[in-house]
């Protein structure tokens, strides 16, 4: 039952990522050139919906249909170094590959097989972060 819910959410997410074209390398390129409102419109509407839904989840103390427990969204840890520096690296990769970690999976399903190189390299990047984590400013 739970797996079906998660799987359905994933399918809906995948369809949305593909049809809204945020999985397209071209759209990411265009976004960083400020040549179209498209990406800002997609992210902005997702953010507006997200903010309203998050507000009501907290305000009404909504319980999860999966386990009946109240949905609690933890605050992000304080600080700025890891967010700014990590964000910079993420931005480098996003602009080069035109793919963020969600749409990567969508592109794979859509048949763009070379995305496997991106997914494998992203896994390697994650591994390297884990190796040198202690030596990085956070």
């Amino acid at each position: 039952m739970r797996s079906i819910v998660y799987f359905s959410i994933g399918i809906l997410f995948g369809i949305t990522m593909f049809k809204s074209e945020v999985a397209s390398w071209f759209r990411i390129y265009e976004m960083f050139q400020f040549k179209s409102f498209h990406m800002y419109g997609v992210i902005g509407s997702a953010l507006s919906c997200g903010a309203i839904i998050t507000f009501f989840l907290k305000k009404l103390k909504v319980k999860s249909i999966l386990d009946g427990k109240e949905i609690v969204i933890e605050d992000k840890a304080r600080g700025w170094k890891r967010y700014l520096l990590g964000g910079l690296f993420f931005g480098f990769g996003w602009a080069i590959s035109g793919a963020c970690p969600g749409p990567m999976f969508t592109s794979l399903g859509a048949g763009f097989s070379p995305i496997l190189v991106v997914i494998a390299a992203a896994t390697l990047g994650t591994f390297c972060y884990g190796l040198i984590q202690k030596h990085l400013p956070h």
Partner: protein, 153 residues
Amino acid sequence: MSSNLRTFCAALGAGKKAVFFQFDWKAQRWNLIVALGAVVGGYIAANFLSVSTAVAISESTISQLNLLGIQDAGKAYMPASLFDMAALSSPKSYFILALGGFFVGFGARYAGGCTSGHAISGLSNFQLPSLIAVIGFFIGGLFVNHFLLPYLL
């Protein structure tokens, strides 16, 4: 979504190399199922829900990309030079895909989240750290897009 990459590492035995990967990755099964759904969703959208998958980017972006040697801008979903099967026989394409992917994976974990975790969920919950991360995404992305990509493509 990017936590799945950490789960991949843990499932592949990375816990032997770094404590960062020593966690009960099987508890992340739900997230892997969402990712699997995203793959299936991409397949459904591309094959059953699209008449044409060409992405109608702006004319000025098209002419700019043409100058950089990407001729299918405006006519395809992805540039063939990077995402067609033939791209796998080009060392340059491999390099670009691997370089981009590596930074995405490294940066997402360093920043503690990606576009979904920070730009959508984090900002929706008015988290200052997420705003800082998103500002980082854009500084990094703008820099690469304007100063590195013209030489890389």
